[in-house]
């Protein structure tokens, strides 16, 4: 997978998280996985279609998800309900959407599918056999936040 597909997601995540959560995340070291896999408890899955296609997963612990949703909603989340899940999904949607704006500037026109929330550890998504690059981030006061990017140039018929 081309590294130029990754930079927009890193840049967009840093910017969107700082705007929404009012803290600056710290970026960790990039690593590779043979395919999209997440060991996080709460995951937002966004499909990408267009000049490049695949999936991006934003993962975090349930504690981090509660804190993210509480900050976005401006009130403590007591139970991880539909509104809290929607806030987390929207965070993933905003990062993906902003990433596509940056990808378009690099010449790749894409669109996103509505985000899906998956709760549960050790989730393997295997619709496409595309290697994944993982960008770990630490959000001060919230916890770890992981971005799994698995994209490839569109397969032409």
């Amino acid at each position: 997978m081309k590294v130029e597909y990754i930079s927009p997601f890193v840049e967009a995540a840093l910017s969107v998280i700082e705007t929404l959560l009012r803290v600056a995340p710290e970026r960790g070291k990039l690593s590779a996985r043979p395919q999209v896999f997440t060991s996080q408890q709460v995951n937002v899955v966004c499909g990408i279609t267009g000049d490049v296609e695949g999936q991006v997963i934003y993962g975090m612990s349930i504690i981090a998800a509660d804190k993210v949703a509480s900050t976005m909603l401006g009130a403590p989340v007591v139970t991880f309900d539909q509104l809290a899940a929607s806030a987390i999904a929207e965070l993933g949607n905003m990062i993906s959407g902003n990433s596509l704006t940056l990808l378009a500037k690099a010449g790749y026109n894409c669109t996103i599918t509505p985000p899906t929330i998956i709760k549960g550890s050790n989730v393997k998504i295997s619709t496409l056999e595309i290697p994944a690059l993982v960008i770990p981030m630490k959000i001060p006061g919230i916890g770890d936040f992981e971005i799994n990017v698995s994209l490839q140039q569109r397969l032409r018929a």
Binding site: L83, S86, A89, N93, G97, N109
Partner: protein
């Protein structure tokens, strides 16, 4: 009398957020649609002063819904509120009749400023 707004977004969080912002600005949110098709149906029913329209939605996307509303109601005031800010999409939305284009995440004041400029 408060100006009427219709919110069209598949994300509950965004509908709640936009409703809070618009209500605090003195607007009446008359209905909330969860996809473009429902947005078109609710526009016919309520004929609001303004519509906020997401783009990526199931069943019918926001650009298609914008085109459907504007073909039936040429004076409809529609503001796109979306996470995607590609130039191509902005141009497509403006050509389809959108009056403004707000990229998420946004500041509450930015939404109110856009709405005030269009409907007072």
């Amino acid at each position: 009398m408060a100006k009427k707004v219709l919110i069209t977004d598949d994300a509950l969080f965004m509908r709640v957020t936009l409703k809070n912002i618009l209500t605090s600005g003195g607007y009446e949110v008359v209905a909330e649609a969860v996809n473009g098709a429902e947005g078109v149906r609710l526009y016919r029913e309520y004929q609001p002063d303004l519509v906020t329209m997401d783009i990526t939605m199931p069943e019918m996307d926001g650009i298609t819904a914008l085109q459907a509303i504007r073909s039936e109601f040429p004076d409809a005031v529609v503001v796109m509120v979306t996470a995607m800010g590609q130039k191509r999409l902005v141009v497509e939305a403006i050509q389809a009749g959108a009056k403004d284009f707000i990229v998420k995440p946004f500041q509450a004041e930015k939404v109110l400023e856009a709405v005030r400029k269009l409907i007072g």
